[in-house]
């Protein structure tokens, strides 16, 4: 994977130089390559697409600092004029308007995400290890079952999830939000793939020395699996933070809303009338920030996650 060789600190400064790259590509510098029209066209396409892909985020940030009328009057401008903190004040309950229970949403999101992520990292690697290494009756069947479970599209699961949490009497509770997501089949699959690619010799030595299976797993195998564990942590964090449909069907009370389900109710107009674009953009921004921070800090692991299948396959 080439991405691992790309230092992440490249990301920031390039943002500003991207434009000049386009007009005068490598002319002058260390390299004496002539500017081919093909190259100029390539840069032009990339820059146009970069604007299309990034401008919405910039507008989102700018709009959250605008006043309601300003956001409608100058939707394209990136500089709020006048600079208005109204949306942010309202989100954090500093105005007399109907407050938006952002703190409740944030708290729920953090709680749910942390528990689900920790649990997935542990349970997925435990199961992935067993499926890759331990010899036990039914292992092959279990792996086939895992693949079958993975191929069920999410859309089929909305009604089933509601049925089971109601049946178990946990509808509208934190248990219903967290428990079903504590293991995910794709994570098990990723970990199994990883353990398949590591040599057994070290663990065998540990086992011969009389260490128990769990002890070998915990102190010998897991430390070796660090890169995959980081990838799994990031995928789980991103997945549970962004989760929408599961929370939508297993909860009802406003106190159980997460950032994402809360934002959805705000956007679909359940919390007051009017367009309130600055408020919505601010809430959307707050929803985006944690994953964005994670993304910029661990970019290569995200890339790894996206390619996990394509590469190992």
């Amino acid at each position: 994977m080439t991405t691992t060789t790309v230092p992440t600190q490249d990301l920031e400064p390039r943002t500003t130089t991207g434009g000049t790259d386009g007009t005068r590509p490598p002319a002058g510098g260390r390299r004496d390559r002539h500017v081919s029209p093909k190259k100029v066209a390539g840069y032009a396409i990339l820059i146009i697409f970069a604007i299309i892909y990034l401008y919405p985020f910039l507008i989102q940030i700018a709009t959250s600092f605008k006043s309601d009328p300003e956001s409608v009057a100058h939707p394209l401008s990136l500089i709020p004029n006048p600079f208005d903190l109204g949306a942010w004040k309202r989100m954090f309950g500093l105005t007399s308007d109907t407050p938006v229970p952002i703190m409740t949403w944030l708290g729920n999101s953090v709680l749910v995400t942390v528990i689900i992520t920790a649990s997935r990292v542990f349970l997925d690697s435990l199961a992935g290890y067993a499926l890759s290494r331990l010899h036990f009756r039914g292992r092959r069947f279990m792996f086939t079952a895992l693949l079958a479970v993975m191929s069920v599209p999410g859309v089929v699961l909305l009604v089933p999830k509601f049925l089971i949490v109601t049946y178990l009497g946990i509808f509208d509770t934190y248990t219903a939000m967290i428990l079903p997501l504590m293991v995910d089949a794709a994570g098990i699959f990723i970990m199994k793939q990883f353990f398949d690619s590591v040599s057994v010799s070290i663990e065998e030595a540990a086992r011969m020395d009389g260490a128990s299976v769990f002890r070998t797993f915990w102190s010998v195998v897991l430390p070796m699996a660090r890169p995959s564990l980081i990838t799994l942590t990031i995928l789980s964090f991103q997945g549970s933070w962004n989760e929408f449909s599961h929370f939508l069907v297993v909860t009802q009370r406003p106190e159980l809303k997460t950032m994402v389900t809360g934002l959805a109710s705000l956007t679909s107009g359940e919390l007051g009338s009017g367009t309130q674009f600055p408020l919505k953009m601010g809430a959307a921004l707050l929803t985006t920030i944690p994953v964005a921070v994670l993304f910029f800090a661990f970019q290569r692991h995200f890339v790894r996650g996206a390619n996990e299948g394509a590469e190992k396959g």
Binding site: K39, L123, T267, A284, Q299, V303, A306, A310, G313
Partner: protein
């Protein structure tokens, strides 16, 4: 020694079950069992206020009636469902080729060895894929609002932008209009599943086009990465040989690069088809099917029918029909591309990647 060995394996047998037990229990209880429960509910007329498995007038077994009436009985349920299928058909037809072509194009350019700022561009294109679908949809609602950025931009170009989210006119209808086909012409009156040919031929509505654009915008990054990974596996010699032979860049792309990318293409198209048939989050935020039902999708209709109208049997049936459509389409696609059937490993990973994204609400599953 032999004894010790069996001993280790004995311990392993128990450990194997203990290690996998949490996963088995959770996936079993919250995935497998509920699917069977829903399969049962899809064959009842359950109304939601009694025990779904208790029988009685509000949870009576009705056999395949919920399924057959979606296709055969005249009524609102069928016309809504058929409209949602029609909408999604156009959605898939546009999103899958557009996202595949765009991501391939971007990957081919970004893959250039002499490109500067490679990591910046890669980051920029991938970033939308990792953010929350709900947050992104909220931003798009603003961008495409009547006084939003897109119409502001169009105004700069002297164009009066449409009212994106309340415009239910179909693109194909608008196109036919250019040739003088009026409202509901005589030649298009035939009924197919209770919907006139004219309605089937509407094309995606203006409002749906926004969601199509959003889907392409959020998924190209992930697919670009898959193409990039595949491109980097291509042997350099082939490239050089092609250059030596004086092949034009376009010929090289068509005759060398794309054929060698076939496994990656297969992966991207399959993931695209699986993801596009399941659009839900975006529909929930961006109008819940409005205007005039032209952004309604089977996934959202299934939710709405079950949770909002208490038609649980019918809603569950719709979900299983979508499941079946996805299975059939991916089978069919596999057959089309059979010449170079993907190796077993790829097929497995294909499911893995799909799952990773479909269950995380972002990525290729718009």
């Amino acid at each position: 020694m032999a004894k010790r060995r069996t001993n280790i394996h004995g311990r392993e047998g128990i450990a194997g079950w203990v290690f996998t037990a949490p996963a088995i229990v959770i996936l079993g209880v919250f995935l497998l069992v509920p699917i069977l429960m829903a399969l049962w509910v899809s064959m009842t007329n359950w109304t939601g206020n009694v025990d779904p498995f208790g029988g009685g007038p509000n949870a009576a077994f009705v056999g395949a009636k919920n399924y057959s009436s979606l296709f055969l009985s005249d009524g609102l349920a069928r016309s809504d469902f058929m409209q949602s299928l029609g909408n999604t058909f156009y959605y898939v037809l546009l999103v899958v080729p557009l996202q595949t072509a765009t991501s391939l194009l971007l990957a081919l350019i970004v893959n250039d060895r002499f490109l500067k700022g490679k990591s910046f561009f890669r980051t920029a294109f991938y970033f939308p894929s990792v953010t929350s679908s709900i947050a992104i949809s909220t931003v798009f609602l603003f961008l495409f609002s009547n006084t939003g950025a897109v119409n502001g931009l169009l105004k700069l170009l002297g164009i009066d932008g449409p009212e994106w989210f309340s415009d239910s006119r179909g693109l194909l209808h608008l196109f036919f209009g250019l040739f003088g086909a009026g409202e509901n012409p005589d030649w298009a009156q035939g009924q197919i599943f209770g919907r006139s040919l004219w309605d089937w031929l509407s094309g995606p509505s203006v409002a749906m086009c926004v969601i199509i654009f959003l889907a392409v915008w959020t998924t190209t990054g992930t697919f670009m990465l898959m193409f990039l990974a595949a491109l980097q596996d291509l042997p350099v010699e082939v490239d050089e040989a092609a250059m030596m032979d004086g092949v034009s860049p376009w010929q090289k792309l068509r005759l060398v690069t794309v054929p060698m990318l076939k496994p990656a293409l297969f992966l991207v198209i399959t993931l695209g088809v699986i993801g596009t048939w399941q659009v839900f989050d975006q529909i929930y935020v961006m109008g819940k099917g409005a205007p005039a039902g032209t952004t309604m999708t089977p996934a959202f209709l299934s939710y709405n029918t079950s949770f909002k109208s208490n038609g649980w049997g019918s809603g569950a049936a719709m979900a299983f029909i979508v499941f079946l459509i996805i299975v059939l389409l991916t089978r069919w696609q596999r057959r089309l591309m059979r010449d170079d059937k993907p190796p077993g490993r790829l097929r497995k990973t294909l499911r893995a990647v799909d799952l990773m994204h479909s269950n995380h609400g972002t990525g290729p599953t718009p």
